[in-house]
């Protein structure tokens, strides 16, 4: 029998009050595979992310990383198991320089974060610079993180997420709030690193150009349920996906009958 896939989610469910934000969702991500998780607003993408990240305890279902159960383990333990992540609203350490941000992550990844002696700013300096070079931030290494432009904050986040040498990288809307040119650039960088280091990537994104340009596989969520999954070309042509995104025309159809542009009619 072959090794289990990098990430396996089975039967994930989580309700907020009466709303089933995530309802019986199962999928997997292989090492080195770039998978996009898309869906309209409120489809359950963020909840799904927080379930995999260990931040939330699912009502049902399990999350396995290389066969190891990390369900609801909490972000710190998920990190040690090999999960790195970036946030939708970028979060970096404002009181540190760009390089120190990465060094803090490196220190944590190498089990040195509880060491109360020795200079933190000398920890893994070279590795930090290497990661910053990867994400295109080497020139800004000594700048205060609080001064960065938003696009650069996102790049720094990527460097921080990579510092733990993750096997799975979760990116929650990595390009949200960025200028179009920066977007493409950041996605290219992230994907290149992931391919080179055989990191599995699961990302949510509203920018369909980024999704179709980079994803090997696309998962589509709608109202908490996984309605489609497959190669970009398949998903693009999937009727259910079109319905979810463009509306299924039921309201319209009820008053004026079938419509040439209606996905159902094709």
């Amino acid at each position: 029998m072959s090794a289990p896939p990098l990430l396996t989610a089975t039967g994930l469910a989580r309700a907020w009050g009466g709303v089933r934000a995530v309802d019986d969702v199962s999928f997997s991500v292989a090492a080195g595979e770039i998978v996009a998780l898309i869906g309209p607003n409120g489809a359950g993408k963020s909840t799904c992310f927080n379930l995999i990240n260990g931040q939330l305890q699912p009502d049902a279902g399990r999350v396995l990383l290389s066969g190891r159960d990390i369900t609801g383990a909490g972000p710190a333990r998920a990190f040690r198991a090999g999960v790195g992540r970036t946030f939708q609203i970028a979060a970096t350490f404002a009181s540190m320089t760009v390089r120190e941000n990465v060094q803090t992550a490196l220190a944590a990844g190498r089990g040195q974060i509880m060491r109360p002696w020795g200079a933190g700013r000398n920890v893994a300096r070279d590795d930090a610079m290497r990661l910053l070079a990867l994400s295109g931030m080497a020139a800004q290494a000594e700048r205060p993180a609080a001064e960065l432009a938003y696009g650069d904050v996102k790049r720094l986040e990527l460097a921080i997420a990579l510092a733990g040498a993750p096997r799975l990288l979760l990116m929650d809307e990595p390009t949200a709030g960025m200028a179009p040119a920066d977007r493409a650039d950041l996605m290219r960088t992230a994907v290149a690193v992931a391919r080179k280091q055989n990191i599995g990537v699961l990302f949510t994104e509203h920018d369909m150009d980024a999704v179709f340009a980079h994803a090997d596989r696309i998962l589509v969520l709608d109202r908490g349920r996984l309605i489609a999954s497959g190669a970009p070309a398949d998903v693009r042509d999937n009727a259910a996906v079109r319905a979810a995104y463009l509306g299924d025309g039921v309201l319209f159809a009820a008053t004026s009958g079938p419509h040439p542009g209606d996905p159902k009619s094709s």
Binding site: F87, F93, W117, G164
Partner: protein, 621 residues
């Protein structure tokens, strides 16, 4: 039975004024996010002004007119304070406004003595409500019955104000989301001033309404402020109804505690507060989303360890400090020793407040644990000075470790208030467990021995410990662990996602800070040769907070500079003038207004400005 009913009614009457004070405090915090330490002072001033108006000018406005006019006048004073002081520092780090209101409290404390004298003043009773009414075989003062009715009426009026007027809607909007309210065109400036004036009006009215019940004195401010804080926290910050329920609870606990549990009467309300927070971390009717602001210490200026020149300067400073006993008299040496001890205390609080971003209003707890640790080691175990000094800090470590475990679910102002409760609980134990602690008489005869028996020797010992503690704190600050602490402070979510556990880091910060504070407390016990419950009392907590804030909460050298400046100044002022509180308060206000980033913060600002100047425009700052 009838006696119990009378006691219950007394409690109800007390609840009314407690509710007025606490609701004012709660409204002010809800909208402006200012922890108004001066609220007790406004309450006290309200009582004094009402006394003057009803006593001296009774003919002009009548008794009731005098009371209302007093509250209005003090509200105007509050509005003035808001416009002149607070309005300028809303952008400063969180808690910095607390320092300003602490300055106002100090000024008020001396001013009332200056204007009305140190003696208690007995006020007139309200016309028509002077007598007593027989109820259940007990004579109940008519005034108490009036207050019992007033409480719910005040709650109803406030409810109407907040739910049926435009002002009230704006206040509620700003309480829930200040930025959103501002974005919708609400004039924040005047809303804040209005809210502050309203809060102060309620406090002053409560003070004035106490006239028929108790004499007016200059200790009223501190006595009410602690109870009011407890009420606000139990009720939930920003909730008026919560404050009402909590005021009833606290007033009844005060009324019956002394009868039912005389041994622990002082500690009951804090135990109840701790219990409430353990079950509901945001108070009875509070909401978790209130008071979300980045921790005070979050700064945009990366921290740097000292360079070679800086280290040399620090070493030179330590060497120069060693020479002090050769060139000055004993008095100055003892004053310098005390200053050093408080520098250790401030540095330990800085580790918690600035490095880990955890606010504490009760740092005296760990200071006092160190001091009583010495008393126990010397008197109980018969140990010498060296062993006592080595062991006593463990009391702080254990105390802080246990406290941090119990408080793990709390954060922000609620955690800060729980630290205050913890300190008050320990204070009550020291005060009431006479068999062990000697109670108010303290533990005496803890004199240093050997070379430290002389003031100069003890000074050198203290200096050595201070250098060690300060050095250790800087090593920790810049170690990987220090980066981890700051990571949790800056962005806890991000820290967790890179494998740093926020809860564990905060626990460690408490343990370290508690140990450091206990070191200071242990030295303090030997400096004074005795230990009193005062070492656990609120002024120690407030002083240490003031030192860190004064020096600059966002800086690394702030606590050292702040402690030396604050302690040296207060010792000096004490020897120079009988109005030392007034002078210290004015100095604090001046510093707050001139340097809203603290003493070291302003130096950093100047340095940054110089660094950004184009080359050639000047090299020496």
């Amino acid at each position: 039975m009838s006696f119990w009913i009378a006691q219950f009614l007394t409690g109800l009457a007390s609840a009314a004024s407690l509710f007025l004070v606490a609701s004012g405090l709660s409204i002010i915090f809800g909208v402006t996010r200012v922890v108004n330490f001066a609220h007790g002072a406004f309450y006290m001033i309200g009582a004094y002004v009402a006394w003057s108006l009803t006593e001296r000018l009774a003919g002009a406005f009548g008794w009731w007119g005098g009371v209302l006019l007093a509250a209005a006048a003090v509200a105007a004073l509050g509005a003035l304070a808001e416009i002149l002081v607070l309005r300028r520092i809303y952008q400063a780090p969180e808690l910095f406004q607390l320092l300003a209101t602490f300055g106002l409290t100090l000024i008020a404390a001396d001013l009332v003595v200056m204007l009305w004298g140190p003696d208690e003043l007995v006020g007139r009773r309200a016309p028509g409500l002077t007598g007593s009414i027989a109820l259940f075989d007990q004579m109940i003062p008519a005034w108490d019955l009036f207050l019992i009715v007033l409480g719910p009426v005040a709650l109803g009026l406030l409810w109407l104000l907040f739910n049926r007027t435009r002002f009230g809607v704006l206040v509620r909007a700003a309480t829930q989301d200040r930025e959103m309210a501002a974005a919708l065109g609400v004039n924040e400036k005047w809303l804040f001033t209005g809210v502050f004036a309203l809060g102060v009006f309620l406090a002053a009215l409560a003070g004035a309404l106490q006239l028929p019940r108790e004499s007016v004195n200059h200790h009223m401010d501190l006595r009410i402020i602690v109870d009011a804080f407890v009420v606000v926290v139990i009720g939930g910050l920003g909730s008026i109804t919560g404050a009402f329920i909590a005021a009833l609870l606290v007033a009844q606990l005060n009324a019956f505690g002394i009868l039912l549990f005389p041994k622990i009467s002082l500690v009951i309300i804090f135990l109840v507060m701790a219990a409430v927070l353990a079950v509901r971390p945001w108070g009875l009717l509070g909401r978790p989303d209130v008071a979300q602001r980045p921790p005070a210490a979050t700064s945009a200026r990366p921290w740097r360890p000292l360079g070679a020149a800086g280290r040399l300067a620090m070493a030179a400073l330590a060497l120069a400090a060693m020479a002090l006993p050769f060139i000055s008299g004993e008095y100055l040496v003892i004053a310098a020793t005390e200053t050093l001890i408080f520098a250790i205390l401030a540095v330990s609080l800085h580790m918690l407040l600035s490095v880990a971003g955890v606010a504490s209003f009760g740092h005296a707890a760990f200071f006092g644990l160190g001091a009583y640790g010495v008393a126990l080691a010397v008197k109980g175990l018969g140990l010498g000075m060296g062993a006592a000094l080595a062991l006593a800090p463990l009391a702080g470590l254990v105390g802080a470790g246990l406290f941090a475990l119990a408080a793990a679910r709390l954060s922000g102002v609620y955690l800060a208030m729980l630290t205050l409760a913890f300190a008050q609980i320990l204070w009550s134990i020291a005060f009431q467990w006479v068999e062990v602690t000697g109670g108010d008489n303290g533990v005496l005869g803890l004199w240093p021995t050997g070379f430290a028996a002389q003031p100069a020797g003890f000074y050198w010992l203290t200096l050595g410990v201070a250098v060690l503690v300060i050095g250790a704190s800087r090593v920790i600050m810049f170690s990987p662990f220090g980066y981890g602490l700051r990571g949790v402070r800056d962005e806890a979510r991000r820290a967790a996602s890179i494998g740093v556990r926020p809860g564990l880091m905060r626990w460690c910060a408490f343990a370290i800070a508690g140990t450091g504070a206990a070191v200071a407390g242990a030295l303090f016990a030997f400096l004074k040769g005795s230990v009193f419950p005062d070492t656990l009392a609120i002024p120690v907590s407030v002083d240490s907070l003031a030192m860190v804030l004064l020096g600059g909460v966002q800086t690394t050298l702030g606590p050292l500079v702040g402690a030396v400046a604050y302690k040296a100044l207060s010792i000096w002022l004490l020897s120079q003038t009988q109005w030392s509180k007034l002078a210290l308060g004015l100095v604090i206000l001046a510093v707050v207004l001139a340097f809203p980033r603290g003493l070291v913060g302003v130096v950093n600002q100047w340095r940054d400005r110089w660094a950004k100047r184009p080359p050639g425009s000047g090299e020496h700052p």
